[in-house]
């Protein structure tokens, strides 16, 4: 297993090297106007000077080498547009904890609500009118059908501007770190989509699992339904979902674009979009690097966790399949 992990990490490093190189080239394709606040009134010399001071006039390989050199020293560089002159580690260091805190809260809630909902729905498929399954499906379908850009703002307005939200619960419209009440709406917004997601997949896997022969046998033998679904169906159905949990945890640190912008949450959410639009190259590079590390680590942990949960999966065989 150790050998497998080492091999995968090495391969991931190569992948990351390629990603960064391509990204580097892509970022240099962006129009130079993006680096200037008042491009219109600057002379040719001034433009030249600024580009030189950003290190953009050097040949690309030289810029790339400099970047890798910095990276090896643990230096992500300094932001040059977003917050000029501030170290990227400092900017990110302020934002990550906020996103993680809210993200983990909502992850816990989504698992705590989504999984039981999925089980309920799956079990309800065996009842006569399938009421639980139908209601659950309606919820899932609606959440999928209404764009998240819309339902987040609906939750915000319904939660903070209607009589119930405003007068009875006193929910504020914006997030304020020191006010616990202000966590309710953003966490709800963040959770609702993943509740639907977890419920949908758990139901799917459980229904598939319960059609398998060994379950039929168990039923035929007269094992009580509750025991079957707890001991056999749920456990097996949960295995493919386990794979995504490390990913979900790690990705909480990237935040949510919609929710964080609506509630004034100083998290990571909109950072990548802002950085790209304002052409803060160093910041984009750093964020993409983090993004890649997270997704690669997430997959690795997911596989390891799956191996632990499900002894049938062996790493030797899995190799090369991803």
């Amino acid at each position: 297993m150790a050998k497998y992990i080492v091999k995968r990490v090495l391969r991931s490093l190569i992948t990351m090297f390629i990603i960064i190189t391509i990204l580097f080239a892509l970022l240099r394709l962006m129009p130079i106007e993006g680096y200037f606040e008042n491009f219109d009134k600057m002379s040719e010399t001034q433009i030249q000077v600024k580009l030189t001071s950003l290190g953009l006039m050097d040949p690309l390989p030289k810029q790339l080498l400099r970047f890798y050199n910095q990276l090896l020293h643990g230096d992500l560089g300094v932001s040059n547009v977003y917050r000029r002159g501030v170290a990227i580690t400092e900017i990110i260091g302020e934002k990550i904890p906020v996103s993680i805190k809210l993200g983990l809260m909502s992850l816990c809630i989504s698992l705590a609500v989504g999984l039981p909902l999925g089980i309920l729905m799956a079990r309800s498929t065996r009842t006569k009118y399938k009421i639980g399954d139908r209601l659950g499906t309606v919820f899932i379908v609606i959440i999928q059908a209404v764009p998240s850009a819309v339902y987040h703002i609906l939750i915000q307005f319904a939660g903070s501007q209607t009589y119930v939200g405003k007068e009875i619960f006193g929910l504020p419209m914006l997030f304020d770190e020191s006010n616990p009440k202000s966590y309710i709406l953003p966490v709800l917004s963040l959770s609702i989509g993943s509740i639907a997601y977890y419920a949908m997949w758990l139901r799917r896997y459980m229904v598939d699992e319960s059609n398998k022969d060994y379950i039929r046998l168990a039923r035929a033998k007269g094992v009580p339904g509750g025991a079957i679904s707890r001991r056999h169906v749920f456990r097996n159905a949960f295995v493919p979902m386990v794979q995504y949990i490390p990913n979900s945890i790690l990705f909480t640190l990237m935040g949510s674009l919609y929710v964080e912008s609506l509630y004034s949450i100083p998290g990571m959410g909109g950072l990548l979009v802002t950085a790209i639009k304002r052409q803060d190259n160093t910041l984009v590079q750093a964020l993409v690097l983090i993004y890649a590390v997270i997704s690669i680590l997430g997959l690795l942990f997911g596989d390891i966790l799956m191996g632990i949960v499900d002894p049938r999966i062996s790493f030797a065989k899995k190799e090369g399949s991803r």
Partner: protein, 342 residues
């Protein structure tokens, strides 16, 4: 209790089947003369070949199974009506131009008119008819959705099959996937929006650029699961060419999942268009789409009397998404041969 119920159900089913067979037999017996009854049945090759499912047709059974799903049938009707209406709407009488600005008698625009007899869905902030804009936007969005789904299917299946079946290519495609998957889509979208003129083609190109990745990976995983099954091994041993194995053995097995993914790719492309508009690189306003209609509506959320401008496009989008979603799922269930036997 449950045990009992299960047993009795099982018994009931068995009894029913038995009764049916007995009835069939009785019918046949009645039609025969005594002589016939006591003569030897001769060996008939065709008859021997006939399995239990005579007259079984895959597509026939699929459609039969699909028709039994009443909810899906309902949404199929909704979708067909919606699609048909979207395309014939401009040719109906009394329809307005989605770009025409309606002015009052003093030459000032009739803006933000709430839904009324003249403007069924009201007008927007500069006095354009929202009804016409929504249907024109739906046309644009559906076109984007279909185009992206098509590219996704063609490229995704092609790459996915090669990736999954040809072992030598596995490493290459896996790395390619890892690299492409990690380049943020936002960056590509913004770069493309700089290089190309904003417009429908640009959006389709941008969304297709990375859209096929998910499909390819999905197909590849499915192929890996089935490529070493016995019947494929047998085909290989018999010297069947790779192309034929893929086309005849593997793809038919995947038809149902592929259609489902395509059905879901359409609403997801429309949803992506909404996202792209949200981050500010969507279609220009003179090309109405559900994305820019919703984005405009969102910014008016704050005034209660203008919320109709958000409500109408969201309802249309939701209807399209729900229809595709339900139909896609129902079709996948119906296309699974396991569900053809009851």
């Amino acid at each position: 209790m449950k045990r009992l119920r299960f047993r009795s159900m099982r018994n009931e089913m068995t009894d029913q089947l038995g009764d049916k067979l007995n009835a069939q037999l009785a019918d046949q017996m009645d039609a025969m003369s005594d002589e016939e009854k006591f003569s030897f049945a001769e060996f008939n090759a065709a008859e021997a070949e006939r399995g239990g499912y005579s007259g079984y047709s895959y597509w026939g059974s699929t459609f039969r199974a699909f028709r039994q799903n009443k909810v899906a049938m309902f949404f199929l009707v909704v979708m067909v009506v919606l699609l048909a209406f979207t395309f014939i709407q401009p040719y109906l009488p009394n329809q307005k131009d989605p770009l025409l600005i309606h002015n009052d008698e003093w030459g000032l625009p009739l803006n933000n008119v709430p839904p009324c007899e003249e403007f069924w869905f009201g007008t927007n902030a500069i006095g354009q008819d929202l009804w016409a804009r929504i249907w024109s936007g739906t046309r644009t969005s559906l076109f984007i959705g279909f185009a992206v789904a098509l590219v996704e299917a063609v490229v995704g299946i092609l790459v996915g099959v090669l990736w999954g079946y040809v072992r030598k290519l596995d490493f290459f495609f896996t790395e390619l996937y890892n690299v492409l998957d990690n380049i943020p889509q936002t960056l590509l979208l913004i770069l493309i929006s700089y290089v190309m003129k904003p417009g429908v083609d640009t959006i389709i190109f941008a969304l297709s650029l990375t859209g096929w990745l998910g499909m390819a990976r999905f197909i590849r995983n499915q192929i890996i699961i089935i490529r070493d099954r016995d019947y494929n091994l047998a085909s290989r041993c018999l010297g069947v060419s790779t192309g034929r194995i893929i086309v005849k053995n593997l793809l038919p097995y995947l038809v149902s999942v592929i259609t489902m993914r395509m059905a879901l790719a359409i609403p997801s492309a429309i949803g992506n268009e909404v996202f792209v508009t949200y981050i500010g690189i969507g279609l220009p306003l003179d090309t109405p789409s559900l994305g820019n209609l919703i984005q405009t509506g969102r910014s008016l959320m704050t005034v209660a009397s203008l919320r109709y401008q958000l409500f109408f496009p969201v309802v249309v989008l939701a209807l399209i998404t729900i229809s595709f979603y339900i139909i896609g799922n129902a079709f996948a269930d119906a296309a699974d041969p396991k569900n053809h036997v009851r």
